[in-house]
Amino acid sequence: MTEQDFAKISVTEWLKQYPQLPVVVAADATMEEVAESLLKENSRDAYILDEDNKVKGHLSFGHVVNHLLSEHRPIHTHRQLFSRVTEPTAEEIMDPHYTYAQCDESLCEVIHRQLERGVDTLVVLADDGKLVGSIKLRELVAESLK
């Protein structure tokens, strides 16, 4: 599949072919719980939702592991020290400025965004900001190799 082919496919069409949701964790989940969820689903991205099914923030696997295995780090900043001692929840370390795709976009635009921000699982949001699905980079790559 070429770039022109991806440009013709919309996110909505892609989701019909690959319907799936991202890994969602509770706001008060511990780092161990987030890491377990990510390992279980073999994903590198987790998201936190609010009660209206809107995405509050994003957690990357690297970010979570950085907190989880902080005792293996020989140097800590003050921020890392406090974080290590107080054991943060998922909500406390999530990035509220996550990147996302919208239903009417073409896949071509989405791939560029995923590569630029280093996100494997990109959330897709409806016009009202509610979560409707996700796009996995590995599936896009697999499709492009066909």
Binding site: G57, E71, H72, R73, P74, I75, H76, T77, H78, R79, L81, F82, S83, R84, V85, T86, E87, P88, E91, E92, I93, M94, D95, P96, H97
Partner: protein, 392 residues
């Protein structure tokens, strides 16, 4: 006279970096290497030969460097995290910090060293400088011995928190000693502190607001540095405490921005090593043998009194909050190291007109005692962790 500040700074930094490479090969502390690099270019050695003049410009550099550290420390913790630290860590931090301040102040005051100016000012300045510790040295020992347990956790919390406490105490001390008399000092200090909190909070809110608007990672470092510089400039014009302003800037930005604050703090945290090289090389370059010889006895008093004060303070605080036995007995040994922040604060005294008589003496005392703590501190921390049975 070599008057190019950029050339002098470049020479200091390059010498510091080269010596730190040698130090890492020989497994010696790198901050000692930075200090020795500065020492080489001090007035008594090569700095005298090449007529290095650092007094004209080092103040601005120290102010900015200290503001960066204060900003990162202010933003290192949220109110929720402070609440979760718990009574043991909070009480022990207050205990060891105030214990060191009190014992050092009293020891220096009753020793009555021969100096120009009032002894009580020197006693209070050295006392307040005794509060901070060196988290880097403590974390390195904990990592080396893979320590884990109640003492380790408490120690990590205490060394993180006492630097913030130490900087706040230092800011208050500067405001107090700046007053013409006690009544004036109390009145103006209230205004200065209140002004710093308002200014820092307002700047923090603005920084967080723009932080939420900007998405490009590359903009965060210039944005944060601009906020720090602007807040320092306004603090200077308004005659409020620049350090308190910087702490409050970080604290309020982190509180409003929420969620870890990586974007607002990580880019500046990368500058910490550069800041410490600047602190130690500048402090080394300010070394003066004649001043040091005048203060050798003060170094001994400071080193012992600070350790005694910290241990006493922790013992009392730990008893009050019924801390675990290992914390009560050994935490005091863990907080012996002292390094960069104390040096930075001591450097900041050099441009205070009301402290002109003692600033250089204080800097030399702190520099010498830091080097002693750099050797003794890690050994004391290791002793505490081993005795508490938390090493592996």
């Amino acid at each position: 006279m070599m008057s190019s500040p950029l050339l002098i700074l470049g020479v200091l930094l390059v010498t510091g970096l080269l010596l730190s490479l040698v130090a890492s090969r020989l497994n010696l502390p790198r901050i000692a290497a930075y200090a020795i690099a500065g020492l080489i270019w001090s007035e008594d050695l090569l700095g005298g030969v090449y007529h290095f003049d650092i007094s004209q410009w080092s103040y601005s550099l120290t102010t900015v460097a200290l503001a960066i550290i204060a900003y990162t420390i202010g933003g290192s913790v949220t109110t929720e995290q402070l609440r979760r630290l718990g009574r043991v860590i909070t009480f022990c931090t207050v205990g060891e910090s105030l214990g060191a301040v009190l014992v050092v102040t009293l020891a220096v005051y009753f020793y009555q060293p021969t100096i120009e100016g009032p002894v009580w000012v020197l006693a209070i300045v050295l006392g307040v400088l005794a509060a901070t510790t060196a988290p880097a040295a403590t974390v390195a020992v904990i990592h080396q011995y893979r320590a884990k347990g109640p003492l380790t956790t408490t120690l990590l919390g205490v060394v993180a928190l006492d630097d913030m406490f130490g900087i706040i105490l230092f800011s208050l001390m500067l405001v107090l000693v700046g007053g013409a008399n006690l009544g004036d000092a109390v009145l103006t200090s209230g205004l200065h502190i209140f002004g710093s909190l308002i200014l820092g909070s307002a700047m923090g809110l603005l920084l967080a607001f723009f932080g939420n608007k900007v998405l490009k990672q590359a903009f965060f470092l210039p944005m944060v540095l601009s906020a720090i510089l602007l807040s320092q400039g306004i603090a200077e014009i308004l005659h409020v405490s620049p350090l308190l302003t910087a702490i409050m800037l970080g604290f309020s930005a982190r509180s409003v921005y929420q969620a870890g604050g990586e974007r607002l703090f990580e880019p500046v945290e990368y500058l910490e090593e550069l800041v410490f090289i600047i602190f130690f090389t500048l402090a080394g370059a300010h070394f003066k043998l004649s001043v040091f010889m005048q203060g050798v006895d003060l170094v001994i008093i400071y080193v012992f009194a600070r350790v005694i004060g910290k241990m006493l303070g922790i013992y009392i605080a730990a008893r009050v909050v019924s801390a675990p036995e290992t914390v009560r007995q050994y935490l005091g040994f863990g907080v012996v190291p002292q390094a960069g922040i104390a040096i930075g604060l001591a450097l900041a005294l050099l441009n205070r007109p009301e402290l002109q008589d003692i600033a250089l003496l204080v800097l030399n005392v702190i520099l010498a005692s830091t080097l002693i703590y750099e050797i003794v501190g890690p050994m004391a921390t290791r002793y505490a962790l081993v005795k508490a049975g938390e090493t592996r």
